[in-house]
Structures are given as structure tokens and as C-alpha cells.
């Protein structure tokens, strides 16, 4: 597939400005990147789980979406989308709709890893022709940075705070992409914002235009929750990939493939030291935390390599 991003960025914008996401929010970038992969002539129905994105992009009477948009609750975004898709199929069969529609769901990590997990699993199992995109910012940022099952170990959150008796979140992050791949869906991938966005663009395109249920997990940094200066988003994403904290891979019909291998694998501290939520790991006496985090990443990386062709 030829990727000409200069052509891509000049497509009409499907997610416009004026939404109330924080300055420097990764969610807006993720949405723009995914929607850019749509053919301009195709229409889309966007379903949204309750999230930062939902409360910021759709405030009556202002919508940041050029496409149809539906939100019903936190836990049922995938179920809502599958219902719309099923209704569309009926209308199409009866010739009451002529245009091609694509069905895309956006959820945060809370709405995907935790609260919306059952409806997502159900929709994937039923085989609807839809894409579920998780923009993973690793905590419940919308309500004030509470820990979710996507929060990595040791991260400081308001419900898993660091202090004298606690060291932040105690458990490791759930591996959602692997869980979705285990649903035996045609396409599951994880990605983030790197270089000229070729990786996220190609994955979004495959996910949208592959028939059947597809899943895309996008690491979307949150300046508030991760505690870093807003301008450093691109650098953080690059470090997440180079340290193998966030490996870029895809699972297409059961075949695992790494899409972006770091030229030189960096120590995980390079990623952690940029973020205030991990700053306690660098205090004297807490060296075991850094060691533990490094071991965990290495273990996961080796396991991933053994899956990949």
C-alpha cells in the first residue's frame, strides 16, 4: 500500500477543532489519524463510550464530528455500534440505504479494558463488521486520574497513590490486544503516533476495510494524567515504542507480526523518567521498582517475539 501522507492530510477533516479536549490531548490525534484512513466518499457512524473524548467532542449543540455520532452509556459502546450495524444491513438489503457506511467505535481504556469489556467481547464474538478503537491513556482521566486495569504498575493515580505506605498501582497492565486477538477476529493491532503516521494509518485502513470485527489499540498520552509538558507528546510515543513498553504489532487472521521494531532497545527508564507519575521510582531506595518494571517489559517483549513470524 502506498502511503502519501501529504495527500492524506489534505483530505477534508472529519474531526474538527473547537472540541474541549485538553491542550495536547492524544485522543484528538488518535481520532483524526483513524478517520483519515476512511475513503472520503464513504460515510461513517461513530459510536462513543463515555470518555474524555465523548464529553469533550459532543456538547449540545456543538459536535466536533462531521459524521453521524451516537453515545448511549459507558459500558455498551460496542453493543450500540453492533446494533446500528445490524440495522444498516437490514436497510441495505431492503434498498433503503444506498451509501456505504463504516462503523467505528471509540472508547477510552476505562470503557474498553474495564467497563465496556463485556459488550466489546460480545460484539467481537458476534462478528459485526465494525472497528473498535481504544485510545489508551492508561487511567480514568475524565473523572480525575483514577487507576484502571490499563494503568501500568507503579504509576501514581488518585485511587492508587504513591506515599509512605503505597507505591502507586500494584498490579501490572492488562494486555487487551492479546485478549482481543484471542477472540480470533480477522484483525487486531496496537499502535501509536510515530514518525509520519504510516503505521497508524495502515492499521486503521486495514481495520476499517477488513470485513468483520476489528480492534485497534492506540496509546494516547495524557499530559494531565501522565504529568509531562504538553509539547512532548511525540517524544513520549517514540520512547514507548523504543523501550518496548508499547510494542507495535498486528494480528491478522491469527498471524502475529511486528510492524515496527526499535533499532536499539532502550532501557525502560528512558520512558519512565519523562513522566511525573513515575517520578517516585527514581528516589533512593526504590531501585527495585525500576528493576521490576524492566523485567516485566523484557518478559512481555520476549513473549511477543515468540508469537511473531
Amino acid at each position: 500500500m502506498n502511503y502519501n501522507f501529504k495527500q492524506e492530510v489534505q483530505k477534508p477533516e472529519r474531526f474538527v477543532g473547537g472540541h474541549r479536549l485538553c491542550a495536547g490531548c492524544g485522543a484528538g490525534i488518535a481520532v483524526r489519524a483513524v478517520l483519515r484512513a476512511l475513503n472520503p466518499e464513504d460515510k461513517a457512524v461513530i459510536t462513543n463510550a463515555t470518555s474524555c473524548l465523548e464529553v469533550s467532542s459532543f456538547l449540545y449543540p456543538y459536535t466536533a464530528w462531521q459524521d453521524s455520532f451516537i453515545h448511549s452509556a459507558f459500558e455498551n459502546a460496542a453493543a450500540t455500534c453492533s446494533g446500528v450495524e445490524a440495522a444498516y444491513n437490514v436497510l441495505k438489503r431492503r434498498n433503503q440505504v444506498q451509501e456505504t457506511y463504516k462503523f467505528i467505535t471509540f472508547g477510552g481504556d476505562g470503557g474498553t479494558y474495564d467497563i465496556g469489556f463485556q459488550s466489546l467481547s460480545g460484539a467481537m464474538e458476534r462478528g459485526h463488521d465494525m472497528v473498535y478503537v481504544c485510545y489508551d491513556n492508561e487511567a480514568y482521566m475524565n473523572t480525575g486520574i483514577q487507576r484502571s486495569s490499563a494503568t501500568p504498575r507503579f504509576a501514581n493515580t488518585t485511587t492508587a497513590p504513591r506515599g509512605q505506605v503505597s507505591y502507586g498501582k500494584q498490579q501490572n497492565k492488562k494486555d487487551m490486544t492479546e485478549i482481543l486477538a484471542a477472540h480470533n477476529i480477522p484483525y487486531a493491532a496496537q499502535t501509536t503516533f510515530i514518525g509520519n503516521f504510516q503505521d497508524i494509518h495502515e492499521k486503521a485502513r486495514k481495520a476499517i476495510y477488513t470485513e468483520g470485527p476489528c480492534f485497534l489499540n492506540v496509546l494516547a498520552p495524557c499530559p494531565r494524567g501522565w504529568d509531562y509538558p504538553t509539547a512532548e507528546l511525540a517524544e513520549l510515543c517514540k520512547l514507548a515504542v523504543d523501550t518496548c513498553v508499547w510494542p507495535m504489532y498486528e494480528v491478522e487472521n491469527g498471524t502475529w507480526r511486528l510492524t515496527c521494531e526499535p533499532k536499539r532497545k532502550l532501557p525502560v527508564t528512558a520512558f519512565l523518567e519523562k513522566q511525573g507519575r513515575f517520578s517516585h521510582m527514581f528516589r533512593k531506595g526504590n531501585e527495585w521498582m525500576l528493576e521490576d518494571a524492566q523485567n516485566y517489559v523484557d518478559e512481555k517483549w520476549q513473549k511477543l517475539l515468540s508469537h511473531c513470524v
Partner: protein, 101 residues
């Protein structure tokens, strides 16, 4: 019933609002000024800019466009001044600074 977002405001009577809070147009958030959140403003140096368009990809607010494929156009009504564009620019063509208002 008032259907146009531009005509709905705090003084619109509830009987006149769309049922279920439905919105009948796309992209109405363009009417909202989020530019006043900004503390620092990006400035493009047209001489240094090679029009590589990387900044457009990274903008969370869809606030950078190419005008007539000749130069970058910043949408300062919506730019929140996060500074990601200045950081990703390989040519140092975007700088952040104070804006006279």
C-alpha cells in the same frame, strides 16, 4: 424547534430545543472559541517551513491546514497552544511566543 446550532444559546426556551438533544449538522464545534485557552501562540516562519506537513498530523485540534499548497495556515480560533507542532517540526519553523491581543 430550533435546529441550527448557531441559533441555540443559553436563552433558548427548552420547548424550542431539538428532542433528545439531537444535533442535525456536522462539525458545529467550529463555532466554539477554544483559542482563548491559549497562553502561548505558535508562529510559523515561512522561510524555514519546508511544508513537510508533519505538524498537521500531530495537531489535536485540527488547527493547521495548508493554504493553496503554498503555506501553513493556523486556525487560532481553535488552537490551544499545546506546542506539539513546534516540537515535531524538523526545521524549527514553528516557535511559541506571547501574542499581542
Amino acid at each position: 424547534m430550533i435546529r441550527k446550532a448557531s441559533e441555540i444559546n443559553e436563552t433558548s426556551p427548552w420547548q424550542e430545543l431539538t428532542p433528545g438533544g439531537e444535533i442535525y449538522e456536522g462539525g458545529t464545534s467550529l463555532l466554539v472559541n477554544t483559542g482563548d485557552w491559549r497562553t502561548e501562540t505558535p508562529l510559523v516562519n515561512a522561510e524555514k517551513c519546508k511544508l513537510c506537513m508533519l505538524c498537521i498530523l500531530y495537531c489535536p485540534d485540527s488547527s493547521i491546514r495548508v493554504q493553496g499548497s503554498q503555506e501553513l495556515k493556523l486556525d487560532l480560533l481553535h488552537c490551544k497552544g499545546c506546542g506539539i507542532c513546534a516540537e515535531v517540526c524538523p526545521f524549527g519553523a514553528i516557535t511559541l511566543g506571547r501574542e499581542e491581543r
